[in-house]
């Protein structure tokens, strides 16, 4: 974690505290390592109430007794958990004066993705001249949300302004004991979003849009909590197609979704974390716990993800189908190239009656990467009339990568109808030849065919991201052909 130490020094020189807290503590970063003191430091920095500090501490104490899980098909050098900083003040102002100072390769990628100029500046850390533009857009959004009573703010703000909501729902979907990385997150989380949609409200905009204009904090241990009250709807998108670097190598986020009666949450992720150099060094480890609880009757949660980055991806966005008639969906495109390793999938736990789930997973491996789908569909004894359909397809590009499918299908109720299909193949020579004979160059042909392969998932993304995601798919496979 040498990179961590160097960069944090730079961060340490920077700016005032974004959220305007005043504290007694002078330094802007916690000391190296992770001890109970670190947890207290973080909690104090955020001026948290005692109940939350206790919550963190109990998670931390539990974490000390746990072993790192080793069952996924990923391998990496051991992580020294004591050799990292667990808190650093967020970056504030930009460091560059114009796009000319930005790495041209990075700009080239932004252009290929079709990212507008203003956003390119924000992503690259260039000062945005038309500040009032972005501010006014942000202000308009904030107004609209306030009008309908939607709460959308950073987690620390939510703890301060809506403690009763946070207390009620935090840890109710992913308990602190859930797994090693979720427990770690519970102890040291510091960024993340809180979303609350009141009864009957259909959130007036994709919360993705809001996010993109606003400055994106890439927190190491983000904690996100989304609550959709009775009859409400929200579509939330995190991440972005632009390649993102971060000084922190390990990202262990936790996302909890709660959908009450007749509510629907659509959660989309487009992630392109830095995958590391050609030897796979220095890339980001993305170990995420995401779970949705369809608590209410007729509730629905759908996860859509396009993962093309990270050195190692380890995530299983899941749904607990508790409420009768509830529905869980999982749509995923996971692309791995170079030496990336992906072990991803979903869990659909059917507890209520007449629940259904749909899983469409498209894995594409290229280079020397390894891509595993790991999924669980489980039907409880009392879960009547469950319906599940799962389709996992893997595409191999080149003969030095690998694709694995590990589905677990468990049922204790005879009325459940569970169907699972998986195929693994490569882009056929016939298809390539056909496209090329029509004048489409080889790389473009591969991108075209792969996009066709992923179509069912791309269709699930919010409109503006679908187009970018398609381009991202093409870019992620560059260099994999020939």
């Amino acid at each position: 974690m040498v990179a961590v130490r160097e960069t944090v020094k730079t961060v340490g020189e920077v700016e005032k505290y974004k959220y305007g807290f005043t504290t007694d503590i002078e330094s802007d970063k916690a000391p190296l390592g992770l001890t109970e003191e670190t947890v207290r430091f973080i909690s104090a920095k955020k001026n948290e109430p005692d109940w939350l500090l206790e919550w963190r501490l109990s998670a931390f104490r539990r974490w000390l007794t746990m072993d790192e899980p080793k069952w996924a098909k990923v391998s990496y050098p051991p992580i020294d958990f004591q050799d990292a900083y667990y808190y650093a003040a967020p970056k504030q102002s930009a460091k560059l004066n114009s796009l000319d100072e930005v790495d041209p390769k990075l700009l080239e990628t932004y252009k290929k993705l079709g990212i507008p100029l203003t956003e390119q500046k924000m992503l690259a850390g260039v000062a945005v001249d038309a500040v009032f533009d972005s501010v006014s857009v942000v202000t308009t959004f904030k107004e609209k949300l306030r009008e309908v009573g939607v709460i959308f703010c950073p987690m620390s703000e939510a703890v301060r302004d809506h403690p009763e909501l946070v207390k009620k729902y935090l840890g109710s979907v992913v308990p602190t004991s859930d797994n090693f990385y979720a427990t770690l997150n519970s102890a040291v989380f510091s960024e993340g979003s809180f979303v609350y949609i009141p009864e009957g409200v259909r959130c007036p905009m994709e919360l993705s849009t809001y996010f993109r204009i606003n400055e994106k904090q890439t927190g190491q241990f983000e904690r996100t909590l989304i609550i959709a009250e009775k009859g409400s709807y929200v579509s939330y998108l995190e991440g972005c197609t632009a390649p993102q670097r971060d000084e922190n190598q390990l990202h262990a986020a936790v996302v909890e979704l709660v959908a009450l009666d007749d509510a629907e949450i659509k959660y989309s992720t487009v992630q392109n974390w830095y995958p590391g150099d050609e030897d796979g060094k220095g890339g980001i480890y993305n170990f995420v716990t995401k779970r949705g609880d369809c608590r209410g009757v007729n509730s629905k949660i759908s996860w859509t993800q396009v993962e093309t980055g990270s050195a190692i991806t380890w995530k299983y966005p899941s749904c607990i189908l508790r409420g009768d008639n509830s529905r869980g969906e999982f749509y995923s495109i996971a692309i791995s190239n170079g030496r990336q390793q992906v072990d991803s999938g979903t869990k659909m736990i059917h507890l209520g009656r007449n629940t259904s789930s749909r899983i469409i997973s498209k894995g594409i491996s290229a280079g020397r990467s390894s891509n595993t789908y790991r999924g669980l569909v489980s039907v409880h004894r009392k879960a009547e009339n469950v319906r599940n359909f799962t389709q996992c397809d893997s595409l191999l590009i080149g003969d030095r990568c690998s694709a694995h499918t590990v589905p677990y299908i468990e049922t204790k109720n005879p009325t459940a109808v569970l169907e699972h299909e998986a195929t693994t193949s490569k882009i056929s020579d016939d298809q390539l030849f056909y496209c090329m004979q029509r004048g489409i160059g080889e790389e473009e042909a591969v991108a075209l065919i792969v996009n066709g392969f992923c179509r069912d998932v791309l269709q699930q993304l919010p409109m503006e991201f679908a187009v970018e995601a398609q381009k991202l798919v093409g870019i992620s496979l560059e260099g994999s052909v020939g």
Binding site: D429, F433, Y434, Q437, R438, I440, A445, F453, R455, D456
Partner: protein, 249 residues
């Protein structure tokens, strides 16, 4: 337009074409007929540049350029079109998307400007109408679930859109009933022009009643054993291929 000289082609280590000579000028319509195994498809794949078809001897010049020096998509941009006997399915890619990508890729390669969505849609609809290619077919994934006739009509639509200088039609009539055959033939005939040449490869004479050739060549045992006018096709119908030493090496 197309000059093939002493072409020898090997597939899987076996020599299939054993010295083909063929000259096709712009505006001409040639037909190649021959029994199964004579090398008809090998010729069309070799012209298109398919991997696995090794040219061991001979030369091919297309519009003055050495065709063998170009890769598959370069040959297409240079004006070569191969209508497949078994058009390939590409799941998830709509016919419309495929057509646009192909046309614009070729235009780009030739230094022409690409068509925007509106102009393209207009153009496609224009070309699709006489071929009975519906909007629905255009929205479906390319060739997925298409009947034999639909696949062939889609091939002809591509040809109409891409406007090649040389179109090679590989057994375009296989699997078609008489009505589908007429529609396809009408579409192909509509594309005849003094600037364009066509090479129709077929087993049966039937197609040639509708797409009347200027010259007919008989391919047998990897060589062209006879060349004649359109009447040669009728003769073949009567005598069969054996008369032309079909089993001779």
């Amino acid at each position: 337009m197309l000059e093939i000289e002493n072409l020898h082609v090997k597939v899987d280590g076996k020599e299939i074409l054993k010295g083909i000579d063929l000259h096709i000028r712009a505006g001409e319509f040639h037909a190649i007929m021959g029994p199964n195994g004579s090398g008809k498809s090998t010729l069309s794949y070799a012209l298109a540049g398919r991997e696995g078809y090794e040219i061991t001897e001979g030369a091919v010049r297309f519009r003055g350029q050495d065709l063998t020096a170009m890769n598959v998509d370069e040959r297409a941009a240079a004006g070569l079109f191969l209508a497949f006997q078994y058009p390939i399915e590409i799941p998830g890619v709509t016919t419309m998307t495929f057509l646009k990508t192909a046309l614009n890729a070729q235009r780009k390669a030739r230094g022409e400007d690409e068509l925007d969505a509106v102009r393209f849609l207009k153009l496609v609809r224009e070309k699709a109408k006489p071929l009975n290619v519906s909007d629905d077919m255009l929205r479906r994934a390319l060739n997925v679930g298409f009947s034999g006739g639909e696949k062939k009509r889609a091939e002809v639509l591509q040809m109409a859109l891409l406007e090649p200088a040389l179109a090679v039609l590989d057994e375009t009539d296989s699997g078609l009933d008489i009505d589908a055959l007429k529609t396809v033939a009408a579409g192909v005939n509509a594309l005849r022009s003094p600037e364009r040449a066509m090479l129709v490869i077929t087993h049966y004479q039937r197609l040639l009643d509708y797409i009347v050739p200027d010259m007919v060549h008989v391919l047998s045992g990897g060589r062209i054993v006879k060349t004649g006018g359109k009447d040669l096709a009728h003769e073949l119908e009567k005598t069969g291929y054996a008369a032309y030493g079909a089993d001779a090496a």
